[in-house]
Structure formats: C-alpha cells, structure tokens
C-alpha cells in the first residue's frame, strides 16, 4: 500500500525524501518552515491555466452567444426594469487586483443597457447574511465611474432583514419558503454576475442563496445537510447543492434570470510572492532570498501590521472562461473549467492530514481570522476539498497549524463572540445549537441592527460556520492544533493542542500508529483532491 501510495501520480503531488527541503507552512499571519517526515505526501496547487488574453472580448462573446436563451441585447427593451446582482467580497480570495472581473462585466452590461434605452437599473450585492460591504470596498469592486453614478441609491447591499425589501416567491414541496430580494424578484430581467472561485459557488446558489432571507437560508444551511454532503465541493455529491437546485427551479419559474459566470485561474500571488505556491525543492537562490526577507520583515511587525500587510496584497487571478445564459447550462461549463484548474488526481487516503491555516477565508476579508473561522477553514473548507472520498481516512487525525488566538472583530463578527464564549462551552453539538440557540441569535435586536446598519455578519452566521465543519467533525478522529498559543481556544473547539508540528505528528502517531500515511496540503492553495 505504501509503495502504491508513493507512486508519483501528478505533478502537484510531491513526496518528501531524505534530501527534500523544508516546506513552507502558513500559520495565521506567519509563514514557518517545517521539516516533514520522510514519505509525507505534499499536495501543491496545480500550475495556473493561462488567462484569456482579452477578457472584454470573451465577456461580449458570452453575452451575445448565451446558452439556452436569447442574447442579452435581444432581451432588452426601453423602459424595462433591470437589476444586476453581483457576488460579494467573500470571493475571490484574497480580493483580486483591480479592475475586478465584476467591474469589467458591469461596464459592458451597463453600457449595453444604456444603449438599449434601459434606465431603471439597480446594482445589488448578493451578500445574503454576510456582512454588508463597506463604501470603500464597493467602490473598489466596481471602479469609481460606476460607483459615482450608482451609489448609494442604485448600488447597494442586499438586506436580508428588511421586511419591505423582501418577497416570498414560492416554497418547495416540503414547505420550505423561498423569500428573495423584492427588487430582484420584481424586475423584468435579473442579470447575475458571478465569479466562480470554488465548485460550490455559482449556479442556483447565486440567486437562491445570495439574495434570500434568514428563514429561507436556514432550510439548507443546517447540520444534517452538511453531514449529507460528501463533499460540498463536489456538486454531484453535495446535498447542499441538491437542495439549492430545487430552490433554483422555483427561481426559474418566477424570475427571468440571465446568468453570467466566470472561471478564474489560481494565480493567488504576483511575482513577488508566487514562491509560496511552488515546490520548495525547486527554489532558486532568489526565491529563498525573497522568503527569508519576507519572514524577517514579518517577524519585526506586530500581528495587526502583518495582517494589514497580507491583506494589502491583491490576488493576480485571471479569467479563464466566461459563459452566460440559463443558470444550469452556464454553471455546468464553469464548474468543469474550475475542476480543470483545481483537480489533483490523488490515490489513497491518508491517516494524518496536515494543513496550515493561512489568514485567508471568505469571512475575514480585511479582518481577523477568529477561532470559529479557523475551525471552518480546517474542518470545513480544507477538509472538504475532495471529490469521491475524503483525503483523510475515517477516524484519522487532522493537524492544523495556527496560533488559535482568542481575537474577534467586534465590528464584523459580534455574534461570533457570544457564540464562542457562551454556547460552545455548553455544547458543541450542532443539532442542539441549532434547535436551542440559532433563532435567539438570529433575532437578537442588537445583531439585527449591526447587520442592517453596520457591517456585521448576521446574528445566525456563526451557527452556519459551525455547521460548515460538521461533516469534517463527524469524519475526523482527532484534531490537533499545532502552534496554538493558548490552551483554551483548542479546548473550547474540542481539539487537542501541540506546541509545534513535530509534537503534533508524534501525538497523531500515538493514535494511528507509527506507519501512518501522512499528507500535507501545501497552503495557501485552491485544489480539489480528486480521489481514485
């Protein structure tokens, strides 16, 4: 088995040998060097697919040659009411260098609308129960021209708690309601502008989730749905995706949606930091110098400054595909393109899975990766980056590397604080939390106001973050937080802690044996382990 495992299957799969260089691991705002045990399998992100040379042309082509419906220009009539909904700041990660793809699409679409005499146009950010984007973020996303023309009256965030701004458009046969943004639902045409970052993004999720209210969302954002998703990054085996498709059918019955989806490559960093995505054995002297310079600089800065520095580095993603038209037809093509970029063929599960947790998540853009978000990245996203079967064996050990500091952003994550300090010490059972406390948090007047008038995540959002780790929690035997700077955060999350990776591996081997197969995800990476 071991020999079979170690057979090189793909250029993104590397095995540690006697003379292998130490590997770089993110740990919060730090990057550390770790010597891994010989035989450890390391998964790297795939080489980037080359971006389209002329993305404006590709977008125009998609609009004029849509899948399953008339071209956009043919659907426009003077005087009609059109709403353009766009993905929020939770993707791509980190936020991409300007001009954002959404800006380019909007410029083309708005120009086309104006050219056809369509004046009644609103742009709505489909933030669902995520925090509302700040004015600065909104301006950055669409560029100063669109911003000055549309903000704030015709360019704004969706508000899932504004009763007058919502309308029920239907319900599933299980009586699950679908309440959507009224402006979108009552428009003659809804154009959705998407960036597909991971396979669970886009498709019917864009409208049915991005523009819904709390009661609609909680019907599928629940522990059982996540348990039944194997994984939620694999649309075909994701119960979450199946439920969202049912809601999408209702959307298609009542709304005229013209869906624009884009796929991007995985160029997370520019030339100055792209060594973080490469095999350390292939580093040249200049790469090593850059890493040491970065590490030295970071070591001299306080944590907040390191965080600020990392958040100031925009990603260099390039668009690799754009399709438009009917939601399902478009989404199918874009997901296929995404897997082309992300899928890494992997043979054999491992006993110990190691993942460094970088300061990157959909929920901490320009903010702190608090303990709940560390949890959702480890047991949620990183665990779920697989297709067919988990990378980690059932009952295996997940080692994450993060300081696990007890810090929260009071402006963005107020309800997370109460969830973490009041609820988790009482129970970590997702079903109990949902039944006993979710509605209390969702209806807490303070949290509602902070969501509506401030930039806070919805009061119920920390629950969804906890559910998001549910299938990981059920699958993993032990979780060890290596490098945790305190004992209480791992304890509250139900984890063990270790001072460093070496100690964590020794602890893990005590559970799964000395011959344990070890795999490390070389973070930061967007990659799907395509299990044989």
């Amino acid at each position: 088995m071991a020999l079979q495992l170690r057979r090189k299957t793909h250029e993104s799969v590397i095995y540690i040998d006697r003379d292998s260089a130490p590997r770089i691991m993110p740990s919060g705002e730090d990057f550390i060097l770790e010597d891994l045990p010989i035989g450890t399998r390391v998964l790297y992100p795939n080489a980037s697919i080359k971006g389209l040379p002329n993305r404006e042309a590709a977008i125009r082509y998609a609009l004029n040659h849509p899948l399953g419906c008339d071209p956009l220009f043919a659907q426009l009539e003077p005087g009609m009411r059109v709403t353009v909904a766009v993905d929020d700041i939770s993707l791509p990660l980190p936020p991409m260098a300007t001009p954002d793809i959404r800006q380019t699409i909007l410029e083309i679409v708005l120009d086309m609308l104006a050219g056809h005499g369509v004046d009644d146009v609103h742009i709505i950010i489909a933030n669902s129960l995520h925090r509302k984007m700040t004015e600065w973020e909104m301006k950055r996303m669409v560029g100063p021209k669109i911003f000055s023309e549309y903000y704030p009256d015709r360019y704004y965030n969706h508000d899932a708690e504004w009763a007058d701004g919502l309308i029920k458009i239907g319900e599933t046969r299980h009586k699950e309601p679908l309440v959507l943004n009224r402006r979108c639902a009552e428009s003659d045409l809804l154009i959705y502008v998407n960036i597909n970052f991971v396979p669970m993004d886009g498709g019917h999720k864009s409208v049915a989730v991005g523009l819904c209210d709390y009661e609609s969302l909680r019907m599928h954002h629940d522990p059982q749905t996540i348990r039944d998703s194997d994984s939620y990054m694999d649309p075909a085996r994701s119960e979450l995706n199946h439920k969202v498709i049912k809601l999408g059918k209702i959307v298609d019955e009542h709304l005229n949606v013209f869906h624009i989806e884009t796929a991007i490559n995985n160029r997370m960093y520019g030339a100055d930091m792209d060594f973080l995505l490469r095999n350390e054995d292939d580093f040249n002297a200049f790469d090593r110098m850059k890493f040491e310079a970065m590490r030295y600089t970071m070591s001299k800065l306080p944590r907040a400054a390191r965080r600020k520095l990392l958040h100031s580095r925009p990603a260099q993603y390039e668009m690799t595909a754009c399709h438009a038209g009917k939601t399902e037809l478009v989404h199918e093509k874009i997901v296929a393109k995404g897997f082309e970029q992300y899928a890494i063929p992997v043979r054999g599960q491992c006993d110990i899975l190691i993942t460094g947790i970088p300061d990157i998540s959909p929920y901490n853009v320009y903010s702190i990766l608090n303990p709940l978000l560390v949890q959702v990245m480890a047991l949620g996203y990183h665990f779920n980056f697989y297709r067919n079967k988990p990378l980690l064996k059932k009952g295996g050990v997940l080692i994450l590397h993060h300081p696990c500091y007890d810090e929260f952003d009071h402006q963005f994550h107020p309800s997370y604080i109460e969830f973490f300090n009041r609820l988790l010490p009482e129970t970590r059972d997702a079903f109990t939390l949902r039944e006993k406390y979710e509605r209390e948090f969702a209806n807490n007047p303070s949290y509602v106001e902070m969501y509506r008038r401030g930039n806070a995540y919805h009061g119920a959002h920390p629950f969804f973050m906890w559910y998001w780790g549910e299938n990981g929690r059920q699958h993993v035997g032990h979780v060890i937080a290596a490098g945790a700077e305190n004992a209480h955060v791992p304890a509250i999350l139900g984890w063990e802690r270790a001072d460093n990776l070496t100690e964590a591996i020794a602890m893990a081997r005590s559970y799964v044996g000395n011959s344990a197969e070890i795999t490390m995800l070389h973070q930061p990476m967007i990659g799907i382990a395509d299990m044989e």
């Binding site: 007047p445 106001e449 008038r453």
Partner: protein, 220 residues
C-alpha cells in the same frame, strides 16, 4: 420567564440630550430679555456641564436641574408638545423604530429609563408606543420649580437598582433582558442584564464595550 429591553433615552434612542431641552425652554421665557438672558446663561453653562458630566452624573444633575429653578410647571407642560414636535421627534434615530419593533416581536417588555424630565419624555413615549418608562421629576412648590429633583434620581447606579426592583416585581429574567445606552454612567445598568449593548458610544464606553465584547450599535 419573560425578558425586557431597557433603554436609556437621550443619545441612545434620540440624538438630543438634556441640554437641548434646557435650551428649548430657555428660548421660550416670558419676554425677549428673559429669553435672551436664560439662553445666554445656558450657553455659558455648557463647558461646566461637559466637565461635570465626565466627572460625576450626580454632580451634573445637581447643577443642571438648578437651571430650571423658578420656572412655572404650567409653562413647562404647555411647551412639552412643541418641544417634542420641534426638537425631539426629528432627533429620533432611524434605527430606533426598528430596534424597538424587533425587540417587541421577541416578546420583550419595552422599558425606558432616563434622566430626562417626565414632562418632556411623555409625548415621545406615546410616539414610540412605550407605556413603561421611568424619568426624573422636578420638585415644584406652589407651581414653581425649585431646581431640585424628587427621589429617586434616575442616574448611574440608581437605574440598575430600579431595574432590579422592577424585574423582581414583574417576574422578569435579568439574564434574558437587554439594556441599551450611550453613556458610561449607565455601566451598572449594562452590567446586570444578560444582553448588554451600547449605542453610539463615546470613547470611554466604546473601550469598555470592546473589553467586555458587548455589541456596539449605530442607529444613525
């Protein structure tokens, strides 16, 4: 056991403070000269009010309510509705209505506890549909204000004490109750409920809220 939502008023649900009310009455004295003199005295008192409010809410109250000395009860009551329409109603924060509405839907009793005067608060309470409120009351002798308050004086720890008595009497759970204020002087009130929150806080209260991980709201 049911819960309640306890609100401070001025600076919390409305943007006005006690000085706005005093200024309003100062401008409506009998005759131009009296109005001018009273207004000028109010303006000159502002720095003193500001300093004493930072030092002690009790000292502030002693000084502040002295400014009402000699004013007739009839006159104060006569202008109360005008004060509400002209000064207080436009100053209600947009988020106030939603906060109260959301809170009411949770089945929480709505209670306002304020250091403002009863006669200036009543129209606002009717406007917000709040029937339970406790205020400060001026002492009147022969229809004229003495510049003193009748006990209990609603400020700082007295508010917390009043809440304790009220919740015991009404069989309300403090753990399930909410409290909202903008002022550091209301820290005791925030400390005794299960769900404290601060609204538009000053620097000191903001730091305290951050330290205790309390929600910080902006209803503007």
């Amino acid at each position: 056991m049911a819960g309640a939502a306890f609100y401070d008023l001025e600076g919390t649900l409305v943007s006005t403070n006690l000085v706005h009310t005093l200024s309003f009455y100062a401008r409506r004295q009998q005759g131009l000269v009296a109005s001018f003199k009273k207004s000028a005295a109010t303006v000159l008192s502002l720095p003193v009010f500001a300093v004493t409010d930072q030092y002690s809410r009790k000292v502030f109250n002693d000084l502040y309510f002295q400014r009402y000395k000699g004013q007739s009860e009839d006159r104060l009551r006569y202008f109360a509705n005008e004060l509400f329409e002209e000064v207080i109603k436009p100053a209600v924060f947009p988020g106030t209505y939603e906060l109260i509405d959301k809170s009411r839907k949770l089945g929480l009793r709505q209670v306002v506890i304020t250091g403002a005067l009863d006669l200036s608060v009543k129209p606002l309470m009717e406007h917000l549909g709040i029937t339970e409120y406790v205020t400060n009351r001026l002492e009147f002798v022969n229809g004229m204000a003495t510049g003193r308050l009748l006990p209990p004086v609603m400020a700082a720890a007295t508010k917390a004490s009043w809440i304790r008595t009220y919740t015991e009497r009404e069989n309300i759970s403090l753990s399930d109750s909410y409290a909202y204020t903008d002022s550091m002087s209301d820290l005791p009130m925030l400390s005794i409920v299960g769900h404290p929150a601060v609204i538009n806080p000053d620097m000191r209260l903001r730091q305290t809220a951050l330290h205790h991980d309390w929600p910080i709201l902006n209803l503007k």
